[in-house]
Symmetry: C2
Subunit: 153 residues, 2 copies
DNA sequence: CCATTTGTTTCGATGATCGAAATATCTGCT
DNA sequence: AGCAGATATTTCGATCATCGAAACAAATGG
């Protein structure tokens, strides 16, 4: 197989990889009974411990108003709890509930476990190649996102 | 750097890579004045030539009703055109306009060009590693999406 | 040529989101 | 101490994307 066609194959594979990621998240959202935005917020909460409503809004790219509504939905579903920050009573701290931790783990732990196991099969040199590939991809995309924004209106 | 920490680093990098992809699409949607769903549809149209409304709906995972509304928006924005299929007049063929082709190319071509150039720097062996890594990742995610769906309710 | 199937649109309802205004609390200044 | 702004969240009203079901239009097969 020629290098050129390998490159073409990889280009297509990158797109399909993004679709696959999307399917995992869609399945997770379905099982949890959440929309994609709320799933994103819950993921942030589970990984990043308690956050204020505002921090969560920034992470998720939501307006304050949308965040309030989203927290409400997570709370009603039993996946998040709200407590006023006693140090600064304007703030509201939002945290994932044990139920959320448990269900998110049930959903994502096997994926992470198998993902790590899969990586462990590679040599260190191969892993470095993969890391660089991904890292440079991020840089490229961030730089291009910047350029695209500059095209504006 | 130990293999174990390399694996951990890559795991985190995968997540950030998805975020970066998301930022590119968000920037593109912003510049085109489209929401994410309509951008997805336009991408399908630009890559996949004219499609019927129904095929487009299936590709995008939308209900027929939502698709009609989406096509309307793309049409109003000047990015898509509708024509009745003369062979089967129930069908409506939707195609990207030249304006859409031009603007989508302006947005994504540099990314693709630089992406390919970047890949060209790797050896064939390295590219095979990358291809396998991505391909196995897709398989893993599809399989896990299936499992997760099975967890239902 | 009518009954059924297929493809799209219309309709009414719902849900997620936004910007702006309202509310609550904190901080700094005098 | 107390007031003026700044900051964090919520409420409000409006808009937009989406859905399911019904309507409509056109094809297909007895």
């Amino acid at each position: 197989m020629s290098k050129q066609s390998l490159i073409a194959e990889i280009t297509g594979t990158i797109a399909r990889s993004q679709d696959a990621t999307d399917r995992v998240d869609a399945a997770a959202a379905g099982v949890l009974g959440l929309n994609r935005t709320d799933l994103l917020c819950l993921g942030v909460l589970v990984r990043g411990g308690p956050l204020t409503a505002g921090q969560l809004a920034t992470e998720a790219g939501l307006s304050p108003a949308a965040m309030t509504a989203g927290i409400e939905r997570l709370e009603k579903a039993g996946y998040a709890g709200r407590t006023r920050d006693e140090a600064d009573r304007r703030r509201v701290l939002v945290a994932a509930t044990p139920l959320a931790e448990q269900r998110v783990t049930e959903i994502y732990a096997p994926l992470e476990k198998l993902g790590s196991a899969r990586l462990a099969k590679y040599t260190v040199a191969e892993l470095e190649t993969i890391r660089d590939f991904l890292g440079q991809g991020i840089e490229l995309q961030n730089q291009q996102a910047e350029r695209i924004r500059g095209l504006a209106k």
